[in-house]
């Protein structure tokens, strides 16, 4: 019986010595990381824009958007780079452009490029890290391998140009703008950041797709200027219009 007691005692010691001591765990509070989140709300004039919904243009044509994507690069404020490259993909990821650990002044001015700078535009898209928006697995149909480089932005829509009271958006509009010469720099001044939580400040941009077509400086005639892939010389005029109008349509919300 004495041996048994000794054995039991040893077993208990062995078991308890294996138990993780709570006292050993040092409870070191990690400082909360402050983040900035930039989002963009697509609108059509005064209306919030949703893909696959029908809107009416000033000329009475009806239009529904099916795709809206864009690369933003070199996003910085006050000399501080907030994000190298971000992919806005309205259908897949909603309004978010990016969220980063950089905190900037409030209000602030931000600068960014619409597209991918030529210094990296022609790199092998498989070599970017898996989480980089330029990695081909994320870029997906935003990369041209036939003319190596990225599509800077794409707007796709279907329009009804017959004003007869019957909605039939069956005329396709495709604006795929890329190639180095169509890279555009953009500045947004006095961007206001609001506290989304104790650690996240959020600012909103908007893109007005009504203005994309109806910008008075370079209106797009959807009947004749319905497609560009930025490549063929005969598409250069519409590509330039699309470039100008896309940039002009982005502003602070």
């Amino acid at each position: 019986m004495k041996h048994f007691s000794i054995l039991a005692l040893l077993a208990c010691i062995a078991l308890f010595s294996c138990k993780k001591k709570k006292d050993d765990l040092v409870d070191t509070p990690t400082p909360a990381v402050q983040q900035s989140k930039l989002s963009m709300k697509p609108v059509f004039g005064s209306a919030n824009l949703m893909l696959d919904s029908v809107y009416t243009m000033s000329n009475g044509f009806q239009i529904k958007f099916t795709e809206l994507k864009a690369y933003f690069s070199g996003i910085q404020s006050g000399g501080s780079v907030m994000k190298d490259v971000a992919l806005f993909n309205f259908r897949e990821t909603g309004n978010l452009i990016f969220q980063s650990n950089q905190v900037v002044a409030n209000p602030s001015s931000i600068q960014f490029g619409i597209g991918v700078p030529s210094s990296i535009n022609h790199n092998d898209p498989s070599t970017f890290p898996n989480t980089n928006p330029l990695n081909i697995a994320i870029a997906n149909d935003m990369h041209w391998d036939w003319n190596p480089g990225y599509i800077f932005f794409k707007v796709e829509a279907k329009v009804d140009t017959i004003i007869d009271g019957i909605t039939s958006c069956d005329h396709n509009l495709v604006y795929h703008v890329g190639t180095d010469s169509y890279f555009t720099n953009k500045t947004i001044s006095n961007l206001t950041w609001a506290a989304l939580s104790s650690t996240v400040n959020e600012a909103w941009l908007k893109i007005d797709l009504k203005n994309f077509f109806e910008n008075s400086a370079a209106p797009i005639d959807v009947k004749t200027e319905f497609t560009t892939h930025s490549m063929m010389p005969q598409q250069s005029a519409i590509t330039e219009k699309a470039r100008q109008n896309f940039s002009a349509s982005i502003s602070e919300l």
Partner: protein, 359 residues
């Protein structure tokens, strides 16, 4: 007292006798052979690749016990000789049941963002769970399938080696199969060399030799393939995967008998859309389209050339739809077909690692 010690000793002997001496759980990480011009593959954190898991997946892929009447395995409808697709328009399940869609070719699955023609599965593991209980496929309840596997010592050991579990279930079967399927990477076709060359990616000496063997007809076909005024294929089929991750209505029908993606999302804007498939090994994976309606590549080229049907959800990138198609002439069709044949990866379809263990 001595009886007490004898009792303790007996218990010790009993427990030691139950210890698995032969089968251990010490999985070996599996190194995927990813071509240099491919992106890295995202592997789910809860299903890391191991040698043991891949081997088990390979065993399961050709395991006919996973079907009700022991006649069908995954490999029955995804045959190596057909680029892991089915030569039949619709695959035949147990008891002669016939499916309604063509079997998709299994290739480069680790980079897909959706599975099935209608994209109803978001992960490979999720996809794998469907065919076994599907009445028009293997028609076996998972509990019965797992019971069959558990009755087999070979599988019991292999599941333990792969996952450290004795009481395995369908999720372990799916994980093992997913691991095997992720190894099925195709990136060594003549097209891969053409892609690298076109994208200024350095070629090895052997690749340079392959590049020099590309015929003028194949180059012309490649040019047509990626030409806006040519075959205009590149919007949906490009890059290393020869596909983009999207759902598209490619003008097969004016009225849909199969809603495709629309039946999953219940969004009428998705009606008639199907997952864009890869064109890799396309010469081997006939018939074509979600319903296998086209028997040959010539039929497919004819469709895109003159057979486009307009509908409200047609892909905006089918830019010649209003003319019925891209209107390729006879010479262009031959060139395009010659290019499509460069997508055959002989090393992939003959890879012994993808064949049954005991053919």
């Amino acid at each position: 007292m001595s009886r007490f010690f004898i009792g303790i000793l007996s218990l010790l002997v009993f427990f030691l006798a139950c210890t698995k001496a032969k089968v251990g759980y010490d999985p070996t990480p599996y190194s995927l052979k990813i071509p240099s011009h491919f992106p890295q593959m995202n592997i789910p954190a809860d299903n890391p690749m191991t040698e043991e898991g891949v081997l088990l997946g390979r065993m399961l892929f050709y395991e006919k016990q996973l079907s009700l009447d022991n006649t069908i395995s995954c490999g029955s409808c995804h045959a190596p000789d057909a680029a892991f697709a089915d030569v039949n328009q619709f695959s035949q399940g147990v008891n002669g049941a016939i499916g309604v869609r063509n079997s998709m070719a299994l290739v480069n699955l680790g980079w897909q963002t959706s599975y099935f023609w209608d994209g109803r599965a978001n992960t490979l593991e999720e996809q794998i769970l469907e065919p076994v209980p599907n009445p028009v496929e293997m028609h076996l309840q998972w509990k019965d399938a797992v019971a069959r596997l558990k009755a087999n010592g070979l599988y019991r050991n292999q599941f333990y080696k792969a996952f450290g579990v004795v009481d395995f279930d369908s999720s372990h079967v799916a994980k093992a199969l997913a691991q095997f399927l992720r190894t099925m990477i195709s990136g060594e076709s003549k097209y891969d060399v053409m892609y690298k060359f076109a994208n200024n990616i350095p070629l090895t000496s052997s690749e340079s030799a392959i590049k020099n063997s590309v015929t003028s007809e194949e180059w012309a076909g490649f040019d047509l393939f990626k030409s806006l005024n040519g075959a205009d294929c590149f919007h949906c089929h490009n890059g290393t995967l020869m596909q983009v991750q999207k759902f598209s209505n490619n003008g097969l029908d004016a009225v849909f008998s199969d809603l495709g993606r629309g039946a999953i999302t219940n969004n009428p804007n998705d009606n008639g859309k199907f997952k864009v498939p890869t064109l890799r090994n396309i010469a081997l994976s006939a018939p074509y389209m979600h319903d296998g309606r086209f028997a040959t590549l010539d039929d497919v080229i004819e469709h895109y050339s003159t057979g486009i049907q307009h509908s409200t959800t047609i892909d905006p990138l089918m830019e010649f739809a209003s003319q019925g198609g891209v209107q390729l002439d006879s010479e262009q069709r031959n060139q395009l077909k010659a290019f499509l044949l460069t997508l055959t990866d002989h090393n992939f379809v003959t890879n012994p690692d993808f064949k049954p263990l005991n053919p």
